[in-house]
Amino acid sequence: MRIEEHPILKFKRGKKIKFKFEGKTMEGYEGETVAAALHANGILVLGESLEKHRPRGFYCAIGNCSSCLMEVDGIPNVKTCVTKLEEGMEVNKQKGKGELK
């Protein structure tokens, strides 16, 4: 799903890093967001709606709509479309509203 050749843009990708989604190891690049890295790995469903448990993906990708909330390193309600990926991050689909610890 990555664009390798583009007529106008050159993508300066950062170094390759590993992270986990639902326990599965995946690869992404430093400097990209969690949602972009997941999408590049073919993961479209990031969570579920609160009442009807319908699948949720991102919508705005600029931090305005909260459609992309996930649990990242144990912290719930993280907007993954504006959160940068880090080496070793553990990203999980969030069930329910999340709890304050």
Binding site: M1, L9, F11, V45, G57, C60, A61, I62, G63
Partner: protein, 361 residues
Amino acid sequence: MINTDIAIVGGGPAGLCAAISAAESGAKVTLIERNDELGGQLVKQTHMFFGSEKQYASTRGIDISDILLEKLEGHKENVTIMKNTTVLGRYEDGVITGMIDENKYLKFNPEALIVATGATEKFLGFPNNDLPGIYGAGAVQTLMNVYGVKPGDKVLMVGAGNIGLIVSYQLMQAGVKVEAIIDAAPNIGGYLVHASKIRRMGVPIYTGHTVKEAIGSDHLEKAVIWQLDDKWQPIEGSEKEYDVDVMCVSVGLSPLNELLVMAGCEMEYVPELSGNVPLRNEDYETTVENIFVAGDSCGVEEASSAMVEGYLAGLTAAAKIGKIHPQYEEKKADYIKQLDDLRSGPVGKHIRSGIDKIVRR
């Protein structure tokens, strides 16, 4: 508590230009941006701009962002940039609060405030509109132009305004197939040069069509469209089905300005400006003294006018707190003329009538 002459919320084209202009007038400016990068929506716009030379026509959006950052760098001594900082509220005593790096609260005590928080994408109602694979056009642009990730293989574009047309073209540049562009309106809203370029590349544009439903189990697999009659009612039997994994929704933006509402600025719903916008005077000052506004947050237009509004609001806000630019009158007249030019002619007609409803003299 962080003391500053002018706090500017939002580092898009409007906020950047406001910072440049206020700093040039001699004010100490704090520019606050929630992302880790300045530039706002410009950072994903790979196409060349319209407008005139003063607004960098024929330059790509991504490059305009760099030009503005360089200009800002020239006023380093007057500008503090705070990235990863979201402004959360404004209190009666004029203090604004923010959060840096998602974990630390800050307070600012500016003499004047310029709100340049931009806009947010609108959504469209139809069955299963929440399936993953249905994305805002800006989101798709961000994904492919900033991160180099394809949104999918086949796209239905909903909305034939400039954003819909431009993003369709950019999707094709990224090697993604655009099956069709549809728009509920009877005419194409965007510039015809863009539309004919896309048609020449073999993409049909259906006006008078809307989405009937989306189909898929856990992500989009099919989209069904149908035709509307002249009363905007769907015509049974006119359905067309597309096997697409992405639907791009490009039905406009609405101003993002909760901060102004919170501050008690008088607001009005103005359809021509795409939503709820603050009443203001010619200096872009709202009904609350020393709160100024610029860019999409006071009416959705385009980046060119957002920049000029930013320059103007930076100039007038600085003057309001006693930092008067030596060429204040000439500069102000020039910005007002630039805005008039950008809004002239038939294309700017609805913007002009919207602005007439909110400007208090």
